[in-house]
């Protein structure tokens, strides 16, 4: 609102400018030695307008930032809590560029639209008061115009939606080619793929141009109506001046103000394309935010808990699993690849909701426990672990604080000879080393529950024995999915 007020003040100052100019020019036409007093009004109005425009610029920047922040925060919280439904590239694209588009939409399009709805009416009323016929011409074209533009805009909306999807697909496509470049090169297909980007770009250009040709029809309508109205006003003023039915002052004021009826509409229309792209992104962000699930209220356990799988079906199509592990106990989950071992572990780690049945933690359903607090007590080893951070230390601590002695002991126990402050990027870690480093990271916080997916895959026999010994020492309740025997104790089969 504040920014629209600033724009309205600027519009008012513009009207004063027009009256001052009209007065001084008409006087000069009549009398070559006329005074220039109205110029003081012109200069004063100019100062007011400059101030109002500058303020408006300041205000709009602050307008949309809180909305953008809140949406990005909530969307990211959902992705972290529930995982993502689309690829990493597309999700990152939506959360960065998508939200930037949304912010642009809110900070430029919305105020421009609000002004376009108010300012033309005011200026048209001033024109009508000066000369009713010009007022009618301007009012009719200004009324016809939005109808025109809305109709054309509606026609283009689906196209604009598609354009946003095309851009996202292309973002995925470039990412896909870059990420898969090693595989493409192995197959000698990388040059083809790079060449196909030319075609993809050409296809994007074509589809975007098809959209814009439709969208620009509204630009055409706007330009046509505004120039015709200006021309009509000028011609009708001229014809009436010739018969002496109108004063020159009024004619000049009307002529100066006529383009200003259309200027706010033109500014809003120029933003329209930003607007549709922003709306489209907003829809995607809101879809993402809607996936939020309520977090449980109960506190997470303070000691290694008993864990019960009660008729648990992690995914549709899997057999129900029943098992009980005592506090600090061990359980091995066995089954062929793809039988749902990983899905089961993800449910236990609080990364996914079960399809049916429940996980009970000390007798209470996992869904009722505060998810972030639960996950803070879980030590998790993915079957394809990601090492996060810059140095070995970052990968180990994951934001927690731990003394160097503790970290070194862990690395020693797992047979890793790594300097703590060495950048990970330069290390060329093998798959087995990555796995052991990730396991060390899972153990740093002394978790109450260890959830391990194939902890000894990729390992030579010596390293595997070390890993088994480290796991055996942990006080946590341990659930392992593995093909070979990693922990003592009961086993449960899936699939």
């Amino acid at each position: 609102m504040a920014s629209v007020t600033a724009s309205l003040v600027a519009t008012g100052a513009l009207v004063v400018q027009a009256f001052a100019l009209g007065a001084v020019l008409a006087a000069l036409a009549r009398d070559p030695r006329a005074g220039l007093a109205p110029l003081a009004w012109l200069v004063g109005a100019t100062a007011v307008r400059a101030l109002a425009n500058g303020l408006g610029e300041l205000i709009t920047t602050r307008l949309a930032a809180p909305v953008r922040r809140a949406l990005r925060r909530r969307a990211l919280a959902v992705v972290l809590d529930r995982g993502r439904e689309s690829g990493a590239e597309a999700t990152a694209h939506l959360l960065t560029r998508g939200l930037d588009e949304l912010e642009t939409f809110l900070s430029t399009y919305v105020p421009a639209l609000a002004l376009a709805l108010v300012a033309p009416v005011g200026v048209a009323l001033v024109i009508g008061a000066e000369d009713w016929l010009s007022g009618v011409i301007v009012a009719v074209s200004a009324l016809v115009l939005p109808v025109f533009m809305i109709l054309l805009g509606l026609a283009a909306r689906d196209e604009m939606d598609r354009r946003w999807r095309d851009q996202q697909r292309l973002a995925t496509y470039v990412g896909d080619v870059v990420r898969g470049m090693r595989d493409l090169k192995s197959l000698n297909r990388s040059r083809d793929a790079v060449r196909s980007l030319d075609d993809a770009g050409e296809a994007l250009t074509r589809s975007t141009m098809a959209t814009l040709r439709v969208a620009f029809l509204s630009t055409f309508a706007l330009e046509l109506l505004s120039s015709l109205a200006t021309a009509l006003v000028a011609l009708s003023l001229g014809l009436r001046l010739i018969h002496g039915g109108l004063s020159l002052e009024r004619a000049l004021v009307v002529l100066l103000l006529t383009p200003e009826v259309f200027a706010p509409l033109r500014r809003a229309a120029a933003r329209y394309h930003d607007g549709t792209v922003g709306m489209s992104a907003a829809g995607d962000v809101l879809d993402l935010v809607e996936r939020a699930r309520p977090s449980g209220e109960r506190p997470a356990p303070g000691a290694p808990p008993a864990i019960t799988f009660a008729s648990l079906r992690a995914r549709p199509g899997l057999a129900a699993v029943d098992a009980v592990v005592a506090p600090g106990g061990r359980l091995t989950v066995r089954g062929p690849s793809g039988a749902g071992k990983t899905s089961l572990l993800r449910v236990l780690a609080g990364l996914a909701d079960p399809h049916e049945g429940a996980v009970l933690i000390d007798g209470a359903p996992l869904a009722r426990i505060d998810a972030d607090a639960w996950r803070a007590r879980v030590g998790w080893l993915d079957q394809d672990p990601t090492l996060r951070g810059v140095t070995t230390r970052d990968a180990l601590t994951r934001g927690a604080t731990a003394s160097d002695a503790v970290l070194r002991d862990l690395l020693d126990d797992l047979g890793l000879d790594l300097a703590l402050d060495e950048p990970l990027a330069g290390l060329e870690l093998s798959a087995g080393e990555r796995r052991r480093l990730a396991l060390a990271g899972a153990l740093v916080r002394d978790p109450l529950v260890l959830v391990l997916d194939e902890p000894t895959a990729h390992l030579d026999p010596g390293s595997a024995a070390r890993v088994r010994a480290v796991i055996a020492r942990s006080r946590a309740t341990v659930i392992v999915a593995a093909h070979e025997s990693v922990v003592e104790g009961p086993e449960v089969a899936v699939g």
């Binding site: 100019t46 972290l80 690829g87 470039v174 870059v178 770009g201 010739i242 993800r346």
Partner: protein, 534 residues
Amino acid sequence: MSVRAAMAAERRGIVRALAIGVVVALSTAGLSLTSAWLIVRAWQRPAVLSLSVPMGLVQIFALAKAATRYAERTATHRVALSVMSRVRADLAREIEPLVPAGLGPRPGEVVELALNDVDRVESLLVAVAAPLAAGTVAALVVAVVLGLLVPLAGLALAVALLVALGAGPVSARLAARAEERRDAALAALAALVDDLVRDPAAVALGEGCASALARLDEHEDALDRARRTGAWVRALTTATLTATSGLAAAAIVALSAAARAGGHLGAALVAVPALGAIAALDLVGGAAGLTGWRADRASLVRLATLRDRPVPVVEPERPRGVVPGDLVARAVGVTGRLAPTDLTASTGVLALAGPSGSGKTTLGLVLAKFLDPDAGRLTLGGVDVADLTSTSVREVVGSVGDQPHVFATSLAGNLRLARPDARDGDLREVLERVGLADLLARPGGLDAPLGGASVGLSGGERARLGLARALLGARAALVVDEPTASLDEVSAERVRASLAAYGRDHAVVLISHRPEDLAAADRVVRLTPPPPLG
């Protein structure tokens, strides 16, 4: 890629778009000038016929303005999009020789960079450069016309135009630091988001959501601070431009009055200089958009520096023809990564063993000419691999990395990358061989889409899909990096059997830790870690 080169390639389109833009701008100013003339002339109550010239001009300019605006918009966007797609394709072309051994650890950032920088070029061309160039030309024409009527008014307009055009670069200089900070904040934010969404589970279970969101807030704070500084500069620029237009109009009215008093300006033309000046200054108002030009230039420079990275493979100047045959390594080594190693890969399965960090993967990269060795000699069919192009080597030597990429296309599309003319039967057969027949039972079968980040495939399935692709490629030699690492024993046995079958008439180099794999291989080469550097 220099954007300049892409623009040079589209020069004709650019010139055309600019020419149309000048016509639009001239029509806009012309409509304003001629209606001012028409009205004051009409007020003098001449014969109606004598008004036909200004009336005709008003109509012509009005129609020309509407008609050419549409053409200008389409021409400008068309050429900007063409430049963009050229730049994007060139970017991938420059990354291609660097993969996998010469590109940094974060290809995701490269992608974000490409998209952001390339889009920046578009907005620069469409929103700033095109209207500004056309507007400036037309505004100068108006200044000349005014100069013919009232010489000092033309001069005053020229000065005001200079101020308006100068406002952009000056505010760009003022905003430069804020822009840099904003870009740094945006890049840091993008890198953070990229990192967090890559493996959300690792974040949720590692540092936790609360800590990750707190880091996001810090980045958002930095971004907001930078944006606020930028907004002050923009506010100042807008105010300056508004003031320039109003004050120029006042000055030109005063100069017109002097000319009128001196008898140099007729009554009919008295409104023309003031209205012409306002119209001309409106045309170059877009200069305010120039505040971003430094950042745009930084984008251009970043895009151009990619080619400065060292290339991991040097192609021979006079390549020799490739002859299928044994791969023979004699004391082949890579400083700090691979101790000098001998091996001969001929028909059969050769297993590469050794503790983690002994350079098995590095040797695999060298064998497929993804990386030049620092020492020793590698020959293929008796020809030094250094004398062969990497493409020709890879016609003979196929390879599968330890984490094959699953492309965002169908199952069939993923496989046909290796052999575009493969029939559906071939694809089913190769999936069967690696134990992935289950994938065919999913909805969609061969046409089932596989997600961008290999959604829906486990690590083991991904590894086998990569192997299936390589088997379909039917290279004479195949280097496979840990295909059985995340497989259960039944699936691993299936993979071993398919590699053994392939090894009957091809050479297979199998990198593995698994004792069963080594036992099943025809020969085993054990690597020892290289001495530590320095």
